[in-house]
Symmetry: C3
Subunit: 332 residues, 3 copies
């Protein structure tokens, strides 16, 4: 236990803000969690095994710091597998890895490869009022971001900047029924990182008897020093419904702070071609390496019957929502 105690790292994020939004159910002041980074509490450990090999684990739980609630997880990559919300689960990540010169084999619950490009392309880090519309509007269900019952492979970091991340995941349904493959899926991502450039392409598919879910995307970012340009395109499909979205923006460091600006959209081919568009401007001021104050202003416009609002809210069809959040984030 004593050795174990020293080798397990406890880490996390807490992030709370005061938000005001108009034009949606958020047409009120609220205390908003996760405006800059998604709150989490995690445990991780790495053990060297010799010969360049190591074993490592990550257990990471999401929670809402405004009310103390834990986030639910999903057991089978299908809507039926959503656990009852309330208690803490390792919904964000529960993985065991064996790594060596040949790369890393990882099992458990983790991000799907097809989601990893999102992080490259969104100046607002996929959270809060600034979250990019392709992420906000994802139509591909429980395995769009993370999958349970997965095994994945990551190439080592020594391939001249190239990387491959491939994953297979299982719905683990009873056999011999029309839905026995539901929740099974796979994804693959190719990435390249060299000096100021990082980019990736990815594709993934999850089986559903009601129609497969498919994601395809491409993202890139170039750091010019005085500013960083970021862009991202995603197409997703759930059965016969298709969607398309993108984001483009910049991050501009200024002293201890950083400005963030992004335009993003998401459109489906449902009747009327509902589309949401977002402009988001943010500023982050770092009080220390661990702690920052931030503010984000954003506006979503809808057309074709879309009803997107800020965060997870919805508004009236074709209405707009705008809002501002001021908050503080702390790593620990």
């Amino acid at each position: 236990p004593v050795q174990a105690q020293t080798s397990v790292a406890l880490y996390g994020v807490i992030d709370l803000g005061i938000a005001y939004a108009k034009g949606s159910r958020s047409n009120a002041v609220q205390v908003l969690p996760g405006g800059l980074h998604t709150p989490r509490l995690g445990f991780r450990a790495t053990e060297g095994l010799g010969n360049g090999m190591s074993a490592s684990l990550v257990l990471e739980a999401g929670y809402d710091p405004d009310d103390g609630m834990g986030k639910a997880t999903n057991t089978n990559n299908q809507r039926t597998g959503n656990t009852v919300p309330g208690g803490l689960t390792f919904n964000r990540r529960a993985t065991l890895s064996l790594s060596g010169p040949w790369g890393e084999v990882r099992a458990g619950r983790d991000y799907v490869p097809q989601y990893m490009n999102f992080a490259i392309g969104d100046p607002h880090g996929l959270v809060g009022f600034g979250i990019a519309m392709p992420r906000r509007g994802l139509i591909t269900g429980p395995a769009a971001i993370r999958a349970s019952n997965s095994v994945s492979y990551h190439t080592p970091r020594s391939l001249g900047g190239f990387g491959i991340n491939a994953m297979h995941y299982r719905g683990e349904n009873p056999g011999g029924t029309p839905t026995s493959d539901d929740g099974n899926g796979a994804g693959i991502r190719l990435s390249y990182e060299q000096g100021p450039f990082i980019g990736g392409i990815a594709t993934g598919r999850t089986n559903y008897a009601a129609g497969d879910s498919i994601q395809r995307n491409i993202a890139a970012a170039w750091d010019f020093g005085t500013f960083r340009v970021m862009a991202f395109m995603n197409s997703d499909r759930a059965g016969t419904l298709s969607a398309r979205g993108g984001v483009a923006g910049v991050q501009v460091p200024v002293g201890s702070g950083q400005f963030r600006f992004a335009y993003s959209y998401h459109r489906t081919d449902a009747p009327g071609n509902p589309e949401g568009r977002k402009l988001a401007l943010g500023y982050v001021y770092n009080l220390s390496k661990q702690t920052a104050l931030y503010t984000t202003v954003a506006r979503i416009s809808n057309s074709g019957g879309a009803a997107h609002a800020l965060v997870d809210d919805t508004t009236g069809a074709n209405e707009s929502t705008s809002g501002i959040v001021i908050g503080m984030r702390k790593h620990f």
Copy 2:
């Protein structure tokens, strides 16, 4: 992660006793959690930011050590927001603070100011068989003790013993409905602490379409060295139902131990004016700074149709309940 590991403190309380009660459904031996301190497991960290400023966080989960269950939280300060019991949540506290010479701004889930006086006035620390009747009988609902979606302010400790704690909290309902303000509320507490004296007055209100909940109370304690006198009066109201209660008692240190005696009552203006009265005598023996053995004997008498029993039980109308608990508490 390494720095984070050293800066996050893990702490908690475990407390279990053997209890016997007669005259209620507890008319049996049971293994009772939290007879002296409420069990909890918490994570906290403070980071100095320079210029007398600091950022800090507390994440604190309640649990039952007799069965390992986590305590539920409440997401909206309304009964509809009670989470399903079972898994661990940060129901006791989830806060992020920014502190400076000007005081502390805190956000998240926390005690409401109007509850803080309870701790001054109850010789039995608001828990177990000794818990004061005004606390036992609280009628003001989910925000009577803690509130989610809160922002609060605490004055610095340098105001000549005076302190102010003010909080505002939000129900975060959809707008434009008759219940859109339900769960919104505010509280304020004024306190004074000088030498052997500590006292406070507080008031708070939570909006409900069915009728607002209101608490008002005053508490004081004076430490005479050989004993400590404590007293507390509370009035609460939920819609048209009003209640009134109080506690008075002493704590008497004797060697490594402490005797505790309290009389308390709680009466509502429901038909018949149901009232519960409690006498509670306890003894705490400290085995170390962290660990104590304790025993408490208590008796509740009911009149006017009241059916209060020990802990969270009820008994028959106008019946009495008496009981004894012997237990052990350990801080960690």
Copy 3:
């Protein structure tokens, strides 16, 4: 908090494998948690109190690393007390102990004495594809393995190898009803450990209005150095239904690894005398003290209408299931 921080040990197990089984609903590849050790995350602390006395606590939560879900607990040793699955609970153990030269008094949720012999007798450690049939087929309900609301006594380790563990646990139902004693129970185990030998006998009973649950068992293991022989017999009864089972096997260390072989069976006196029999062969290769790779192959045969399959699955009546799992386990 600082002292507390250093005295609380964080520990755990993560274990994931890839499993293939045929002849049951597991007739598919799945990512299987806990093939070698049951995953857990725990907190423990011990404090010396002088005079050979100490206070200690253990809080241990089970979880599924394939999907991040926490394991449910049980609050009253009855089926009605199962909590909703999803969030983390201290389902595996939540105990507070006071120890001295006279032994240990422990309260909370813990293994029942009548289960402790299982660990002596099963070469496959009571988990995964190799789990012994008497454990797999337990018919005695929620208190068969652990009990909540318990108080137990353990003799000190200085009795010439002899040991006694006795426990009483409470269902904590309302009094004065026909089911007021449901979930109350007790167990006792006598054990002897000397040099290469370890053995134990145990019995336990839990009250249920529908008919008491009873367990009786005996287990022994002898370590001959080049191999270890292990055996176990258990009889359990739930109301009018009786069952009987046993396991016999060996563990054979080979270099950094260990082979494990076991035959086990479980039969009830339900109409047809349903019986399941299992052959299980495993190999564990230790990469370090904390980390191991393992594989287990197992086959279950059913007769008399039994439908046992690997892990918690069922198959068709009298059908067989066989499977293989390859995995990795890490202590932390």
